[in-house]
């Protein structure tokens, strides 16, 4: 029982770590929307015209937010009077894709499938957005516009203060609910219980996935990694699509937000329709998109992270939990968590000592300074630069996330050595720590080649596949603590890696 509760806490904290960077982005975008005002925000989303839904979809595709980071943005859209259908369309699309994850999917899944998935998401967003506005008219809310803020440093400080206030607002309760929902799910799913939940021949796989996916929290990147894994393991493509839309797009916090804003009945009706529509599309595209020539592995580890982290036989659960949390915390997540901590601290102080917003009033009271060698840029220039900047930043992020081949090999050499040595010396925990890191670098190697137009030969692809299979077999041996097998597989992996590395010699 203890291990189940500790497991749920671990899953909640892991979700919080993954969500931290995109929640900060969500707070920043929401604060900017609040500061630029109701009318401009409305204009960005097409002023409730026929363009609103495709525009919401397009912006959602570009912004790097998850389903939790989308909540404060949705709240601001609501305050700005954007139609309910458009808000939900944005909320559903923004977490599905971002440029880095799409690039990953294009390389490691079937590109045709990812393009079809993208267009299916557009169809879902358009249909569900239209359905909402058709069934529940007059769902937009008008609020008093916030007064203008003088340009310059005051406006920047105002954005920071708004972010801080938002970080302790009710919106964060929805975010917390989403995180707790992800943890609670693990109470119902024993460790490894979803390994055969998405088999291609299982007709119920997409429906089962729909049920699990709603409380699931997955960042766009995590979802895309799972999707690629499902393609490589020959799992159900219909289940993969269901997981992408419902697992990445929704969470319990978002459902609570919709219920709070529009009522429980409307939320249940809309989610019911959404699930039905997603399943119809999933069953329709699943068969034609199934990858040819893939041997079904009969199981998948893609969903292990949604199940309880500790199975039977774990002796010191609290120590294992601490180690798991420590291992899964990435540097950018730590920085984001510290950032959120600072925002919460500032927001908490402002809530206690300045509930009326005197500080913002002070910032707004100053008149615009006279400029000597500077000009005030009109809104459309700032908007245009921001949009272009977002596109450029996305491209740069792709190149940073998928570095050059030489950099990848330099990292992978260390990772491979660590993994092989821990396997041969029977250091199970260290070995299992390096397994996902090794897999990650192998995937980056493939995406980097695609991004830099250095196509991999079939020979190189086969060598990579052999290393991937070697890692997977070794992972099982490490999990089962089989000393002789782990040693043998570790040595084989070392040889396979060396051969894979040699296949790239002279190709850099």
């Amino acid at each position: 029982m203890d291990s189940m509760i500790i497991g749920a806490i671990v899953r909640t904290l892991q979700a919080a770590m993954q969500a931290a960077p995109t929640v900060i982005v969500g707070l920043l975008v929401a604060a900017i929307f609040q500061r630029i005002g109701r009318d401009v925000t409305n204009k960005i989303f097409g002023s409730n015209s026929w363009r609103s839904l495709p525009q919401a979809w397009g912006l959602g595709m570009l912004l790097p937010v998850c389903s939790l980071g989308a909540v404060p943005i949705m709240s601001e859209m609501r305050r700005a009077g954007v139609a309910g259908g458009v808000i939900l369309a944005f909320g559903l699309t923004a977490p599905l894709f971002n440029p880095v994850s799409v690039l990953y999917g294009l390389t490691l899944s079937d590109p045709v499938a990812i393009i079809v998935f993208t267009f299916c998401s557009l169809i879902i967003v358009t249909v569900m957005g239209t359905a909402w506005d058709w069934f529940f008219t007059k769902s937009e809310q008008a609020i008093e516009p916030i007064g203008p803020m003088p340009y310059g440093w005051r406006r920047l400080v105002a954005v920071f203060v708004t972010m801080a206030r938002m970080s302790v607002s009710r919106d964060m309760l929805f975010v917390l609910a989403g995180l707790v929902g992800a943890g609670l799910l693990s109470l119902f799913l024993p460790a490894g219980s979803l390994q055969s939940a998405a088999e291609e021949k299982d007709i119920l796989a997409p429906a089962r996935m729909a049920l699990i996916a709603i409380p699931v929290y997955a960042t766009p990147m995590v979802a895309m990694v799972q999707l690629a894994s499902m393609f490589q393991h020959g799992n159900s493509i219909a289940a993969a699509f269901t997981l992408l839309v419902l697992g990445t797009g929704l969470n319990l916090g978002m459902l609570w937000w919709i219920a709070r804003q529009y009522g429980v009945k409307k939320m249940l009706s809309w989610v019911g329709m959404l699930v039905a529509f997603v399943l119809i599309l999933a069953y329709a595209v699943g068969k034609p998109l199934y990858p040819k020539g893939v041997e079904p592995a009969g199981h998948t580890h893609a969903f292990d992270n949604y199940c309880a982290p500790f199975g039977e036989g774990v002796e010191d659960v609290p120590a294992a939990a601490l180690k798991m949390l420590n291992d899964s915390l990435l540097p950018h997540e730590l920085v984001s968590l510290v950032g959120i901590g600072v925002l919460v601290l500032v927001g908490g102080c402002l809530t206690i000592w300045d509930r009326q917003g005197r500080f913002e009033a002070f910032l707004a009271s100053a008149k615009n300074e006279e400029l000597k060698n500077d000009i005030v840029l009109p809104g459309y220039v700032i908007g245009g630069v921001s949009l272009c900047g977002l596109v450029i930043a996305s491209i740069a992020a792709c190149y940073m996330y998928y570095p050059s081949r030489s950099e990848i090999f330099a990292e992978m050499k260390i990772v491979n050595t660590e993994l092989v040595s821990s396997a041969t010396s029977g250091d199970w925990d260290t070995g299992l720590y390096w397994v996902p890191i090794h897999e990650d670098w192998l995937r980056k190697l493939q995406v980097s080649a695609y991004l830099r137009r250095q196509p991999l030969s079939r020979y190189q692809q086969m060598k990579i596949k052999i290393v991937e299979e070697g890692i997977e077999l070794l992972e099982h041996a490490l999990e089962d603590k089989e000393k002789e097998e782990a040693e043998l597989l570790g040595k084989r992996l070392g040889i396979a890696y060396f051969r894979m590395r040699m296949s790239f010699a002279g190709a850099q």
Binding site: A131, W134, F135, T137, F188, L189, P190, A191, G192, S193, Q195, S196, L204, A207, R208, A210, L211, L268, S269, G272, M273, V275, A276, K292, G293, A297, G298, H299, A308, G311, E312, S457, R458, Y459, M462, K463, K465, I466, E472, L473, H476, E479, A496, R499, S503
Partner: protein
Amino acid sequence: MAKTNKHSQSNRLGRCLCALVWLSIALLGSSMLGCQKSASQEEAHHIPAHLPANFEQALVRIEQLVAHVKDGAALEQKPTEVTVETELRDVVRWLPELAAQSDLKEVDWNVVDEATRDLIDSFSQAKEPPEKWLIQGETLANIAQLPQQLAAVREKYRAMQVPDVVEDAESENQP
């Protein structure tokens, strides 16, 4: 008035649809949670019993299976998990991977890849089990040619193999 009626009708329709979906979700949920597996039932990787140990053994097995299917030659080792036709298809399919698990150079591996690519593509397009199509038409003839087509690569592969010193020493010590 007509507009209000239309709206209330669509609302009713929406509510019915929604109730139906949630009911199905609840039923599915109860059935799913009722058949959870425990952690001890974790899936293991199944390595087929007929997976050859290496490229050389794969080619030997192809020769044996082709001789069995074509001329009725007796098989020393009969497949246990699958039929002869399925084993033959699988071994051909595994050839490029087995060849890549060696120090063969890219140019030599490409010979294996090119010799098997069309065959493997045709395997993945087949909708029926191999017993129904493998011994018919050109497929079996193409498979039968593989050992000959890959003779040069096979020689290079053999030349690369280092004898297992420990194993050899042990076999020498045995009476």
